[in-house]
């Protein structure tokens, strides 16, 4: 152990660390620790100047291990790994110790304690560094093909763009007819083009594109393999199955519309309908609007039905999200109504109008055309009376909260989007689901279409409520992530994965049950059955390690040996 040549660098982080941790004391305490040949301080270790100096130290002192005590590895692990690499040191021989979040920031009331803890943590880091081997990333060749699940507008648009980038797209659709929701919609905001014509023009291009294979009436049955090289089994028709090789998967399975309860806002009445139903009604005929055999002269819209709900007795699992498209869509329907028959009185009972961005112009237009807006508080929603004359009562906060009664020929419930249940698919792909029921991205701002499952992307309304343009934008974003992955021809994965000591293993199968990624398989080794890790599937999370009764498993970078050495070094220092 003592023949190691480890360099330790302590960061001031301006004053972020040094204001509460005695950095010089930390440096002095560890300078003679086993394996350490060099210890220094820097004002900012992440600065270019400090990195240049540290790289020079690595070369001059022939360092074979590096410990930097600075901030969270979430911030700078990759910075310093790449610095090590540039200095000719294996990047996995770099160990980061977090003395900012874990010492100076956490213990501003106790400088002594913060310093002692920092010394202990650095000692543990040095102990780990002594035992860190050189590792290389796992390289996987990628297949230049992608599977897209769901041929709605997001799926169709993804397929076209991928094919044009030279990546073959297998587009599968569960229904017999591609096109999804948009294929059944009427006139759409903002340009007034109709849903079917939008879908038809996309389908026409899809048919002409050689790089797309469209399967309708088809479902995903199985997925195996790993990022860059998945094998997917599809069920086409009643009993036919086919297997395909793809490098990535894009999920564009869309949403469901909120279905109001029978008793919600009098929904069991024939003249209380959803916005989608009213939009279909607007597609029929010209001039005066007819519904259910009578002329419509008074319409009352109730907004936010099934969206932005709060938990209550009658609503134990609320849809908390705003569905984004519905305000604009309802106002767009109102404008179409005004234009067909200017004598129709239209009352909009809303909580907040969210016709954001360019759609604000539609709100202006509706106001100027004579739409009347009444604002209600979520605590006192409108009530719909279906006995006798259909009427709605609302406390209008814009008129001193006075109760206003509106006689209506038609009550339109502006319903939002809810996540579409798809347990089978979730199970096959191990898709992460958020609290709201929609599929979860890794980071809402910075990684909006990636999932924690490498090589599986999400786009469109399966991820969150979106307008059509937002759906298409996210579809194209998934396309660029897919192309970025597959165009390079290979991917490099972290080598910090589990490993099996085949001599100890007796194949009891406990580890496979514990692994959520299916990364462990049974193989023959020296005439006995043992477990083997599939490195490209393993995430190195270590669920298998503690369940092994024979201690045959370890995770690279976090081996029992390393962890024990770290605990020993840490507690030795704390005991002082």
């Amino acid at each position: 152990m003592l023949n190691r040549r480890i360099g330790v660098f302590i960061c001031h982080c301006g004053g972020n660390i040094s204001d509460y941790v005695d950095v010089e004391e930390v440096r002095k305490s560890v300078e003679n620790s086993p394996g350490v040949v060099l210890s220094k301080k820097h004002m900012f270790t992440c600065s270019d100047a400090a990195q240049t100096e540290m790289m020079k130290d690595v070369l001059d002192e022939k360092l074979d291990g590096l410990v930097i005590a600075s901030c969270s590895p979430k911030l700078h692990l990759h910075t310093f790994r790449s610095m090590s690499e540039r200095a000719g040191l294996n990047p996995y021989r770099y160990v980061q110790v977090n003395i900012r979040e874990q010492c100076s920031w956490a213990h501003t009331d106790n400088m002594r304690g913060a310093t002692k803890k920092a010394i202990a943590l650095v000692e543990a880091g040095i102990a780990k560094s002594c035992l860190m081997p050189s590792l290389s990333t796992i390289r996987v060749e990628t297949v230049p093909k992608a599977l897209i699940i769901g041929a709605g507008i997001a799926g169709l648009r993804s397929a076209l763009s991928l094919a044009r980038l030279g990546i073959h797209a297998y587009l599968i659709e569960r229904e017999e007819q591609p096109g999804g929701w948009v294929g059944n919609l009427g006139e759409l905001f903002p340009q007034g083009k109709k849903g079917p014509s939008l879908i038809d023009s996309l389908l026409e291009q899809v048919r002409r594109e050689e790089g797309i294979t469209l399967f309708t009436g088809t479902e995903l049955l199985e997925k195996s393999g790993n990022i860059g090289n998945f094998t997917v089994k599809l069920k086409t028709g009643q009993s036919d199955t086919i297997s395909l090789n793809v490098g990535a998967i894009i999920v564009t399975t869309g949403f469901d519309t909120y279905a109001p309860q029978k008793t919600e806002y009098g929904f069991n009445d024939t003249n209380v309908i959803t916005l989608a139903e009213y939009e279909r009604c607007l597609q029929e005929g010209t001039g005066e609007i007819q519904y259910n055999g009578h002329t419509v002269k008074r319409v009352a819209y109730i907004y936010c039905v099934g969206s932005r709900q709060k938990t209550s007795e009658s609503c134990p699992s609320p849809n908390t999200q705003c569905s984004r498209y519905c305000c604009t869509s309802a106002i767009h329907a109102a404008i179409l109504t005004h234009k067909r028959d200017a004598t129709v009185g239209q009352y909009h009972l809303y909580r907040d109008i969210r016709t954001y961005g360019k759609y604000e112009l539609l709100y202006d237009e509706a106001l100027n055309l004579g739409s009347i807006f009444l604002r209600f508080d979520a605590a006192t929603p409108p009530t719909v009376h279906t006995d006798g004359q259909l009427r709605v009562n609302v406390h209008d906060t814009l008129t001193r909260g006075e109760e206003i009664e509106i006689d209506a020929d038609l009550v339109v419930l502006v319903t939002g989007m809810v996540p579409r249940e798809n347990k089978k698919l979730v199970n096959i792909l191990k898709l992460p689901i958020g609290k709201d029921g929609f599929f979860n991205e890794i980071h809402p701002k910075l990684r909006p279409v990636e999932t924690v499952i490498d090589g599986v992307f999400i786009a469109g309304t399966c991820q969150s409520p979106k307008t059509i343009s937002e759906s298409v934008a996210s579809a194209l974003s998934a396309v660029s992530k897919t192309a970025g992955l597959l165009k390079r021809g290979y991917v490099e994965l972290e080598p910090l994965v589990a490993m099996v000591d085949a001599d100890r293993c007796v194949w009891c199968d406990e580890c496979t049950k514990a692994c959520p990624y299916g990364a462990i398989q049974k193989v023959e080794h020296n005439g006995k059955e043992v477990a083997e890790i599939i490195p490209v599937l393993c995430k190195g999370e270590g669920a298998c390690v503690p369940v092994c009764p024979k201690d045959a498993l370890d995770v690279e970078g976090y081996t029992d040996h390393q962890i024990t050495a770290m605990i020993d070094a840490f507690s030795k220092e704390m005991a002082k």
Partner: protein
């Protein structure tokens, strides 16, 4: 009970372009009124567009107290023709209420 109807609005629109539905209820007009007429013009126009005639009649005094100074109109972000609307409303009241 306040019953909402479009009758009053339809009637007023025969006299002129009564565009109070363009109001976004920001309250700038009420805040700026040099006369301190708190019901004018935002709330009054709410009564008008909702067709609450009795509320309008209860405020006739206020409707005629407006100076038509246009302080509110010049600052209205919704481009409501406030003074023209008040004139239209006065015409209607003259006919309907005062029979002149």
């Amino acid at each position: 009970m306040n019953k909402a109807t479009t009758k009053l609005l339809t009637e007023l629109r025969k006299d002129g372009d009564f565009n109070a539905t363009a109001c976004i209820n920001c309250g700038t007009c009420t805040g700026l009124c040099p006369h301190g007429l708190d019901i004018l013009p935002r709330e009054l126009f709410r009564y008008v567009i909702l067709g609450l005639e009795d509320k309008v009649e209860a405020n006739i005094e206020t409707i005629y107290s407006c100076l038509l100074c246009k302080m509110c109109e010049a600052n209205c972000p919704g481009d409501v023709n406030i003074t023209a609307n008040i004139r239209t409303l006065r015409n209607y009241i003259n006919r309907k209420h005062f029979k002149i």
